[in-house]
């Protein structure tokens, strides 16, 4: 009977366990979870904080007991793994217990970034990553008395936090070192338009501003000014939990390579044979660059976890990778970013009523797309872009072209991005 160890029980850890069980009904699957919770989706934290979702809704796969039973898992919760020895195939827990394994997955996820200098000012701040973060912000809002809030980070999470504060009639300012919103996903033109719409609704912005620290008065900027705030929320991104790799004794000459995340191949195996990684702690292939990169998205973690699980159970499976893509729905707006907006090319714009689609093309190759004001077409274009990068048919199907036209895109623009009629 094969023994599987899964370290971390989020989306990737869950999908790995499920896939292993589907391939190997007899194997012993042991999950080591440093929380007492079933897999939690960080993306749901703002929805929980704003009371749009109850506690039962933030654990999409069910309770620990249900998962334990349904997939025959041995779940150790509230326990940290101290080290992994890939040679003797053993892990040691912080309580001193050791467990042996035949195959192991590191799915330790990511955590919110807090620069040390931000702590030095002695001010309080709220993060938005874990259920505890969401509970804390929710309690603070319920407590009342907040007039002014500052959100550090014009990220996808930052905008959702700003929305939630705004809904609670709190004067909200977003501050960011970048010069416009969503710089990793949006073109400046689209970002400025979103900013304008948000300003019309009352959100304020301070761009190109470094934050020095957080004090009890608020956020101190690099120029010495203080944005006075009753509450400060920190949404400047995440960092992969890769510390376990430093405590890993690897098979000779095969150290686990770590850049920003743990580097994996298309089988989700690290550079050390027998050790797999998946989810927000790892770097899989970015289909556009061919290089490894953290693409921290829920569905990506699911696909990576499934692929890792199948390979661990002996069923050779490949996950070719993904593209950068985001959809965010906030304050009655939809923004979708597909591909890397920094890649070069000629910009083409389609505008009709409230719909704007911009695409950057390098010759006939689509490098990136921004959509503002229509969620319906996002899947067609995302799948088209992914298919192109996977070497598939470069043309949109007749049905997809018809659906795009049905949503208001001109035949000229459809032809430009891959139509053929």
């Amino acid at each position: 009977m094969k023994k599987y160890a899964i370290i971390g029980f989020g989306c990737a850890g869950f999908h790995a366990a499920k896939s292993i069980r589907q391939v190997d009904p007899e194997g012993q699957i042991t999950v080591f979870n440093d929380t007492g919770q079933p897999p939690f989706n960080p993306m749901l934290s703002t929805y929980y904080a704003s009371d749009k979702l109850g506690l039962d809704g933030v654990f999409p796969f069910g309770t620990l007991e249900e998962l334990q039973q349904q997939w025959s898992l041995d779940i150790h919760h509230n326990v940290r793994v101290d080290w992994v020895d890939a040679q003797s195939k053993t892990i040691k827990l912080e309580d001193g217990n050791k467990h042996s394994f035949d195959s192991i997955l590191i799915a330790t996820g990511a955590r919110a970034i807090v620069p040390p200098s931000f702590r030095e000012g002695g001010g309080d701040y709220y993060l938005m990553r874990t259920l505890e973060d969401a509970q804390r912000l929710r309690s603070r809002i319920e407590e009342g008395g907040i007039k002014r809030a500052t959100v550090i980070g014009g990220s996808m999470v930052g905008i959702k936090v700003a929305e939630l504060l705004h809904e609670n009639n709190i004067e909200t300012t977003i501050v960011d070192a970048a010069s416009y919103l969503f710089p990793l996903a949006a073109y400046e033109s689209i970002a400025k338009l979103i900013q304008q719409r948000l300003e019309e609704q009352g959100i304020k912005f301070v761009f190109g501003a470094q934050v020095s620290t957080i004090t009890q008065e608020g956020v101190v900027l690099g120029n010495g000014n203080t944005l006075e705030s009753d509450i400060v929320c920190l949404c400047i991104g995440t960092t992969a939990n890769v510390e376990l790799v430093a405590n890993t004794k690897v098979v000779e000459d095969s150290p686990v390579k770590v850049n920003r995340g743990i580097v994996v191949d298309m089988h989700m195996q690290t550079t050390c044979p027998g050790i797999y990684a998946a989810g927000d702690c790892c770097e899989g292939i970015n289909l556009q660059t061919g290089k490894t990169q953290i693409i921290g998205l829920w569905a990506n973690a699911a696909a990576q976890g499934s692929c890792a699980g199948r390979n661990m159970a002996g069923k050779s499976t490949v996950y070719y990778g993904n593209i950068l893509h985001n959809i965010t729905h906030f304050m009655d707006m939809d923004f979708i970013g597909l591909g890397d907006p920094t890649l070069p090319g000629e910009r083409h714009t389609f505008k009709k009523d409230d719909l704007i689609v911009e695409a950057v093309l390098e010759g006939n190759k689509i490098n990136s797309i921004n959509i503002f004001g229509n969620y319906k077409i996002s899947g067609i274009l995302k799948n088209h872009l992914t298919k192109l990068l996977m070497g598939g048919d470069s043309k949109l199907t007749i049905a997809q072209q018809g659906l795009l036209a049905n949503q208001g895109l001109s035949w000229e623009f459809i032809k430009l991005i891959g139509g053929e009629i």
Binding site: Y47, L53, P60, T328, H329, G379, I398, Q401, G402
Partner: protein
């Protein structure tokens, strides 16, 4: 037994009966802001083609490995094991539109409360032995719901027939 929707474009006359029946069945009121689950449209293929026009009717394709399922952060979508339909329970839907970005066929819609709704294959009708509303009203049987197994057998037979014809022709 898994079922699939098939559309014979040579029979479809673009009458949109299927879309109307779908709206009726699912109480969709487009003039009140509801978005229809099924859309019909004409594709102009050019006057040089054998058939210059083609009519299409599209709703959820109930993909075998439906990408919307894993994309939903709240676990609202799943597969019905009997029919193979992609079904949903939108109680915990947060209206994030992630399913829409995963779907290559623009199937997910959002209701006035911002919750995801879409074609569920008229699963209640099918479980009761009835045809889905769209299939029921199609005047030329262009749109059909068939057992996947039967469809695959027929496709294999058709392919074999073509191969045999080609071999004979040589």
């Amino acid at each position: 037994m898994s079922k699939i929707f098939i559309l014979d474009t040579e029979k479809c006359i673009g009458c949109s009966s299927c879309a109307i029946a779908c709206m009726d069945q699912n109480d969709i009121e487009p003039y009140e802001g509801d978005i229809p689950f099924r859309v019909c449209f004409t594709v102009e293929q050019g006057s040089d083609k054998d058939s210059p026009f083609s009519y299409l009717t599209m709703a959820c394709m109930h993909c075998e490995d439906a990408p919307c399922i894993n994309s939903c952060p709240a676990g609202c979508l799943s597969k019905d094991m009997d029919t193979g339909f992609t079904v949903f329970d939108n109680n915990n839907c947060i209206g994030c539109h992630s399913c829409a970005m995963a779907c290559p066929f623009a199937a997910p819609c959002f209701d006035k409360d911002g919750k995801m709704v879409k074609c569920d294959g008229c699963i209640d009708r099918v479980r009761a032995g009835l045809e889905p509303a769209c299939v029921r009203v199609c005047p030329y049987d262009a749109l059909q719901l068939v057992a996947k197994e039967d469809y695959e057998k027929e496709q294999k037979y058709k392919k074999a027939k073509i191969l045999a014809y080609m071999a004979f022709d040589k």
